[in-house]
C-alpha cells in the first residue's frame, strides 16, 4: 500500500521532462558568446590581461539583458529584464554604454553589431533610435561602485532586498555583473592578521572575504534565478610568456577564445581562492591578438 506507492513512483521520466522543459527558460545566448549556452544560476568568469575587452563583453551582456524581445515590430532578441552591475574597478564609462545601446537600437538586429562598431566614422549624433525604448533600457540598468571590499560585502548583503523591491514593481532581474572580482586582491592580502580579541574571530583576509562573497552570491542565485558574470584581470602576467622567457617549456599553442583548456594548461596564474574557483561554472579566456601590452 504505502510501500507499493513509494516504489511505483510519482511520474514517469517522460512526464517529468515534459513538465520541466515546458516551463524551463531557454538557453541564454549572449552575443558574441553564441557558442556558450548559459542558464540562470550559472556563474561565468571572463579572464584576461588588462586591455582585452572584458568590460566590453560585460556591457554587451548587460545590453542583451535590458533590451526587450520585440518592440514596435522590431526584433531585438533581448531578455527583457533588469541588469545589476557592481563596479569594483570603478572605470565604467556611461557614455560608452549609451553609445553601444544606441547602436544596438539603431541596428535592430544582433549580427550587425561588429560591423557597425568597427565603422568609426559613424558620428554619435546621427544614429536614429527609439527615444522611449532607449530611456526604458537605461532605467533597467542598475549600477553601484565599490571602493573597497567592505563596500562590496555591504552591497551584496543588501542586494536581496533591493531585488525584492524591484520584483514588487513587477521587474525581474536577469543578470548580476561584477567588474573585476580580483580588484581588491592585493589590498585584502596585505591586511595584517593582528591577534584579535576572541580566538574564533574571523579576520579580514582574501579567504574570508571571498568565502563570504561566494556565500552571498550563492544565496542570491538560489532566491532569484539569474546569471552571474564576473570579469577577472590576470594580475601575474602571462604564464606562457614568462616560461618561454625562462626557457622552461615551449609556448603553449592550444589557445582558444572559449575555455577548452584543462586546468593544468591555464596560461595565467590563478590567484583566487578555491572557494571562488569551485563556484565558477564557466570560464572564458580572452586575450588581445598581436599586442605586446
Amino acid at each position: 500500500m504505502e510501500a507499493k506507492g513509494w516504489i511505483s513512483g510519482d511520474e514517469s521520466a517522460k512526464e517529468m521532462l515534459g513538465r520541466v522543459l515546458s516551463r524551463a527558460r531557454p538557453f541564454l545566448l549572449l552575443p558574441p558568446l553564441h557558442r556558450v549556452p548559459l542558464r540562470p544560476r550559472n556563474v561565468l568568469e571572463i579572464v584576461g590581461p588588462s586591455p582585452s575587452a572584458k568590460t566590453h563583453l560585460l556591457i554587451q551582456a548587460a545590453l542583451t539583458c535590458v533590451l526587450p524581445v520585440d518592440w514596435n515590430g522590431v526584433h531585438y532578441g533581448g531578455f527583457d529584464g533588469f541588469a545589476i552591475f557592481i563596479d569594483l574597478d570603478c572605470r565604467f564609462d556611461i557614455f560608452r554604454f549609451s553609445h553601444l545601446l544606441k547602436l544596438r537600437l539603431a541596428s535592430g538586429s544582433v549580427s550587425e553589431i561588429d560591423r557597425e562598431q568597427n565603422n568609426n566614422t559613424i558620428k554619435r549624433s546621427s544614429i536614429a533610435y527609439d527615444e522611449e525604448l532607449y530611456t526604458l533600457c537605461m532605467r533597467r540598468f542598475s549600477y553601484v561602485r565599490c571602493y573597497d571590499s567592505f563596500e562590496f560585502l555591504a552591497t551584496l548583503k543588501t542586494l536581496h532586498y533591493r531585488i525584492q523591491k524591484e520584483k514588487a514593481y513587477g521587474n525581474c532581474v536577469h543578470m548580476l555583473l561584477i567588474d573585476s572580482i580580483g580588484a581588491f586582491h592585493w589590498i585584502d592580502r596585505a591586511s595584517t592578521c593582528l591577534p584579535l580579541r576572541g580566538s574564533n574571530r574571523k579576520s579580514h583576509s582574501v579567504q574570508t572575504v571571498l568565502e563570504t562573497v561566494v556565500q552571498e552570491i550563492r544565496k542570491l542565485l538560489l532566491l532569484h534565478p539569474m546569471l552571474a558574470i564576473a570579469t577577472k584581470a590576470t594580475l601575474f602576467g602571462n604564464r606562457a610568456m614568462n616560461e618561454a622567457k625562462w626557457n622552461l617549456r615551449k609556448p603553449d599553442t592550444s589557445y582558444s577564445q572559449i575555455g577548452g583548456i584543462t586546468a593544468l594548461q591555464l596560461p595565467y596564474r590563478e590567484y583566487m581562492p578555491s572557494a571562488w574557483q569551485t563556484f565558477v561554472t564557466h570560464r572564458i579566456l580572452l586575450r588581445p591578438s598581436g599586442s605586446e601590452y
Binding site: 588588462s50 530611456t135 542598475s142 553601484v144 548583503k157 596585505a190 572575504v209 563570504t212 610568456m241
Partner: protein
C-alpha cells in the same frame, strides 16, 4: 569600522543584550558582521529568550550596512551626472587633445607613460597652466622630483596672450599662478596624507567659487611606488592599488581630472613597457605613450588603453620648439657649475701629485 558598543548611543536597540549575543558568536564590530552569515545569526537568535528584540537588532544592523556602500544609480541618473559634471579639460596641446577627443576627462585617471626626457613633465606643466588659465579652476600639482618650474608655466601662460599693458598682464598672471598649488611629495605616505587632506577639504567646503579643484597632477607616481614594490610581501602592491583607488575616488566623487606620469622599463624582447606591472594596468582609465625623437621637438603620443578607442591611434605634435631650448639651458646651467668644480679639483689633484712626485 565601528565596534558595536559605540553604536548603542545612536541605535538603542543594539543594547548590551544584543552585544553579548553577538560576542558569543565572535562578532564585535560591524566589520565582523559583514563577514558573517546574517541568516544563520537570525536562526541562532530564534533560540534565545529575547529573540524578537535580537531580530530587530539584526534588522537595524542591516540598515546600517545599507548606508555603508555607495548609492545605487540607474543608467539615466548616471548619464545625467556625467553630462552635468564630467566635462572635458583641454590640455593646451593640440595633438593630445585631438587624440583624446577634447582633452582630459573629468572623473577619469589619465596616465602618461614615457621614457625619461620624453616630455611628460612638460605636458603636465602645459596642462596645469592651461586649466588654471582657461577653465577657472584650480590645479593641485604633486611633484616628486622637483621638476615643477614656475618659469616654464609663466611661459605657457604668457605665450598666447596679446601684448597688453604690463600691469594688467602681471595681475592676470598672478591670479592664474595662484590657482596652481604645488606640493613636493617624496614618498607614498606623504602622498596619502596630502590626498586625504584634499579629500577632507573638498568634502567640507561649499560648492561653487573659482577655487574648485579641477585638475590633480601627480608627477610621477612611479617614482613613489617603485621603491616599495618588490620583495616577498604584498604591502607594496597593496599601497599602490590603494593609492590608485584613492585617486579614482577623488576623480569621480569630486569631479576632478587626474593626470599621472609613469616611466618605462625594459620588457620582453627589448621592447620597453610601462613600469608598475600588471596590477597597475587596471587602475588608469586612459594610458598614453609619449616619445620624443632625440634632440628634436616633435613628440609622438599614442594610445595604450582607452575606454572607447583601440590602441595604436597616435598623433604627432610639436612641443613649443623655441622655448624648449630655453628650458634646456635653464636645466643645463647647474651641470656646468658641477663640471667646472670637477675640473678644478682634477687640476689641483694633478698639481699636488706632480709636486709630491717632484719632491721625491
Amino acid at each position: 569600522m565601528a565596534p558595536l558598543k559605540s553604536l548603542e548611543q545612536e541605535y538603542p536597540i543594539l543594547d548590551s543584550n544584543f552585544q553579548s549575543f553577538c560576542a558569543s558568536h565572535d562578532i564585535f564590530s560591524v566589520e565582523d558582521l559583514l563577514l558573517h552569515d546574517l541568516y544563520v545569526l537570525a536562526a541562532f537568535a530564534e533560540q534565545e529568550s529575547s529573540s524578537e528584540r535580537l531580530k530587530q537588532g539584526i534588522a537595524q544592523v542591516l540598515s546600517i550596512i545599507d548606508g555603508q556602500h555607495q548609492p545605487w544609480l540607474n543608467g539615466i541618473e548616471l548619464l545625467e551626472d556625467a553630462q552635468r559634471n564630467k566635462h572635458v579639460l583641454s590640455t593646451g596641446c593640440e595633438g593630445i587633445d585631438l587624440l583624446l577627443h577634447g582633452g582630459l576627462r573629468v572623473g577619469q585617471l589619465t596616465e602618461l607613460v614615457g621614457p625619461s626626457s620624453s616630455g611628460k613633465t612638460q605636458v603636465c606643466l602645459l596642462a596645469a597652466s592651461n586649466v588654471a588659465k582657461k577653465h577657472i579652476g584650480s590645479v593641485v600639482y604633486l611633484d616628486t622630483g622637483n621638476s615643477f618650474s614656475p618659469q616654464r608655466v609663466t611661459q605657457f601662460i604668457c605665450q598666447h596672450s596679446d601684448p597688453a599693458i604690463d600691469q594688467a598682464k602681471h595681475r592676470t598672471l598672478q591670479k592664474v599662478m595662484n590657482n596652481i598649488s604645488c606640493k613636493s611629495v617624496f614618498d607614498i605616505f606623504t602622498m596619502f596624507d596630502v590626498l586625504h587632506q584634499l579629500e577632507f577639504n573638498l568634502r567640507s567646503q561649499m560648492q561653487g567659487g573659482d577655487c574648485k579643484v579641477q585638475l590633480l597632477i601627480v608627477d610621477s607616481v612611479s617614482s613613489m611606488v617603485t621603491p616599495i614594490l618588490g620583495g616577498s610581501g604584498s604591502q607594496g602592491h597593496a599601497l599602490m592599488i590603494s593609492a590608485g583607488y584613492l585617486l579614482k575616488k577623488l576623480a569621480h566623487e569630486h569631479n576632478i581630472a587626474v593626470l599621472v606620469t609613469n616611466h618605462t622599463v625594459g620588457g620582453d624582447g627589448g621592447i620597453s613597457k610601462p613600469a608598475l606591472g600588471e596590477s597597475w594596468k587596471s587602475i588608469p582609465h586612459v594610458r598614453l605613450l609619449l616619445s620624443c625623437d632625440h634632440g628634436g621637438s616633435i613628440c609622438n603620443v599614442s594610445i595604450l588603453k582607452h575606454p572607447s578607442m583601440v590602441e595604436s591611434f597616435a598623433s604627432l605634435f610639436t612641443m613649443c620648439a623655441i622655448d624648449l631650448s630655453l628650458s634646456l639651458s635653464l636645466s643645463v646651467r647647474p651641470f656646468y657649475k658641477l663640471f667646472l668644480l670637477h675640473m678644478v679639483f682634477l687640476f689641483l689633484f694633478t698639481l699636488f701629485n706632480f709636486f709630491s712626485s717632484g719632491c721625491w
